[in-house]
């Protein structure tokens, strides 16, 4: 029983991390129509930035935000300087992000070596909460809270602000959005930077749980991919539900069927692709 509960808490925390990662992935996919195959690289590079800042004595949250900011700059650079050159050639854009992900992973290996880095959780969250004879690690609960707060903020931004309305218009129909005067190309840069920042933030927040190691990018990218295919592209609600679903499947799969953890992870995605190709919360049509 305790094992199951611990697994459940871990699953929820992991789901929260996945949401931070895949929310940006989903928005980029929805708006630019490309799966950003360097999203895992943003996550890993952000995590490495974070642990480096922590190693020189920065506050945990300062490190997370600084890393997110740095990655927003890098992300907008990638979009402006490289992806923009290949506008409307989706396939070339996807392959470009794939090529960049190899470059990033090798540079990370060069700079941060092959040894894993696992920073401590921030001092104020290192304890545990005891409730009903059970022990909950405080940091994992905090991750869930952060994910929920970010989800709420993103939802407010997308659903309630002018910027959000423009993004939604771009997701629904980019050419018409252009016609009515929305500068969709500027939205591309903005959303790409936002997605990169969220991924980096998730990387730093996830570092005390997952640690940072070479190959983290390749571990996280397929998860983001599954979440978004499950939830539907461009849908924040879909990303949220998909994240927690995959969080549970991943943790329970690892615990119960470690040999087939990957198969279990990808099965729901295949089911959704076959039965409902637009994703659980995606819009019909395309």
């Amino acid at each position: 029983m305790t094992l199951w509960l611990t697994l459940a808490v871990n699953s929820i925390a992991f789901g929260g991390l996945l949401f931070l990662l895949s929310a940006g992935f989903s928005l980029i996919f929805g708006l630019m129509r490309i799966p950003n195959l360097m999203h895992g690289s943003f996550f890993m590079l952000g995590a490495y930035f974070g642990v480096t800042l922590l190693a020189i004595g920065a506050n945990f949250w300062v490190a997370a935000l600084a890393s997110a900011l740095a990655m927003a700059l890098i992300g907008s650079g990638v979009e402006r300087l490289l992806l923009r050159r290949l506008a409307s050639q989706e396939l070339a854009q996807v392959l470009l992000t794939l090529g960049l992900s190899f470059i990033v992973s090798d540079i990370c290996l060069m700079i941060w070596t092959g040894d894993p880095w696992q920073p401590l959780a921030p001092a104020e969250l290192r304890g545990v909460i005891r409730a009903g004879g059970m022990i909950f690690p405080l940091y994992r609960l905090a991750v869930v809270v952060i994910a929920v707060v970010v989800a709420a903020a993103l939802w407010l931004m997308v659903d309630r602000t002018r910027l959000g309305a423009m993004i939604r218009a771009g997701v629904d129909d980019a050419p018409i959005a252009r016609v009515v005067g929305i500068r969709v190309s500027r939205l591309f840069t903005l959303v790409f930077a936002l997605g990169a920042a969220l991924a980096a933030f998730a990387g730093v927040v996830g570092a005390p749980i997952l640690s940072v190691y070479p190959g983290l990018d390749a571990d996280m990218l397929p998860l983001a991919l599954i979440v978004v295919i499950l939830g539907g592209t461009g849908s924040l609600l879909g990303a949220l539900v998909g994240s927690f679903l995959i969080g549970f499947l991943y943790n329970f799969g690892q615990a119960r069927f470690p040999d087939l953890a990957y198969v279990i992870l990808f099965l729901p995605m295949l089911l959704v692709l076959v039965l409902r190709p637009q994703g659980l919360f995606g819009k019909g049509g395309s």
């Binding site: 290949l86 989706e90 396939l91 470009l96 190899f102 040999d259 198969v263 990808f266 995605m269 076959v274």
Partner: protein, 330 residues
């Protein structure tokens, strides 16, 4: 295609060069590298069927390649003979390819790419994690090579010749495919899927059969790989490997016979040369990938022809212009 034309002479020279590699290379290490170029050329030609002629970019082909290698390797370990292992590998790969095709062909373009990527990751996950079946990270070793018609293939040169024969078979099959009505209809589904449907073609079936054709040559390449290295590990099924073979196709030039072969040669040689001097093969791979996609999206073979033609036209245009260029507006 007949007569003494420049392409035919070049072709004959290349043929002569290829069939004498072990004679002038000497060192068995480099003969082995030459075998790998040929087997990866077969792999790249297989992927090119989908990417080039079908317009379907797959990022899961390394999974099919690995299914073939692993099936044969595991069957050999279980005590089966070479013939049974080879037949088993081809059948298993065709089965895997048909599952891939049924799932991935629900989409085209980016959707196809994502589904194949996910399927490839599943196969990688099985190779890596299902240690009871696949021996996990330790991989599977094979102690002997087959001896077709009693010819011993254990040496580097004899294996090279065997690979060369298979490579020519693949090349002939690809050339026949390219000229066949089937090849034409696959190109039709790439360029005008809707019109093909209107003309009464079953677009889905054409793509499905193309996937199987591609899968068959993936199986052949996977077998060549297994016997060449006498070892296979999950690395073969990784996304990196799928990206590498895609790079071979794209860098050489899609929808050509020569392109994937040139691409395979470039990538394999780069890999060996670069890894001999620097550890950063992935970095180099990524940089080439990005550079080719950004500057020569049509591939090195057509891209070089384009740039060469452009340079020649500019040069011709420049020469008369020099004589009477005085006062010409800039």
């Amino acid at each position: 295609m007949t007569g003494v034309t420049a392409p035919n002479v070049t072709f004959a020279l290349v043929l002569l060069g290829l069939s004498t590699v072990p004679l002038w290379v000497g060192n068995s290490y480099y003969v082995d590298v030459a075998s790998q170029i040929l087997l990866f050329a077969v792999f790249a030609l297989a992927l090119n069927v989908l990417v080039g002629y079908g317009g379907l970019v797959s990022l899961g082909h390394a999974g099919l390649f690995a299914v073939s290698g692993y099936t044969a390797g595991l069957m050999l370990q279980a005590g089966f003979g070479h013939a049974a292992a080879i037949a088993g590998a081809v059948v298993a790969t065709l089965l895997a390819a048909s599952v891939f095709a049924v799932l991935a062909l629900r989409a085209t373009g980016i959707g196809f790419l994502m589904i194949t990527l996910a399927l490839g990751q599943i196969l990688w996950g099985i190779a890596y994690r299902w240690a009871d079946l696949t021996n996990g990270d330790n991989g599977v070793s094979v102690s002997t090579r087959p001896a077709p018609f009693g010819i011993n293939l254990s040496g580097a040169s004899s294996f090279y010749y065997a690979t060369l024969v298979v490579f020519f078979l693949a090349l002939v099959a690809m050339a026949a495919f390219e000229r066949s009505p089937f090849g034409a209809s696959l190109r039709g589904t790439r360029d005008q899927a809707r019109r093909m449907t209107a003309l009464g073609y079953n677009v889905w079936l054409i793509r499905f059969l193309a996937f199987l054709f591609s899968g068959f040559w993936c199986a052949v390449a996977g077998l060549l790989y297994l016997y060449n290295k006498q070892f296979i590990s999950p690395q073969v099924a990784a996304l990196q490997a799928s990206a590498e073979v895609l790079l071979m196709v794209i860098s050489g030039g899609t929808a050509t016979l020569l392109g994937p072969i040139v691409g395979a040669a470039i990538v394999v040689i780069m890999k060996y040369v670069v890894s001999a001097y620097v550890v950063r093969w992935n970095l180099v791979l990524g940089v080439i990938f990005v550079a080719i996609i950004s500057f020569m999206p049509e591939g090195l073979v057509p891209g070089s022809i384009r740039i060469w033609g452009f340079a020649r036209r500019r040069w011709r245009a420049l020469r008369p212009a020099r004589k009477g260029a005085v006062g010409a507006p800039p």
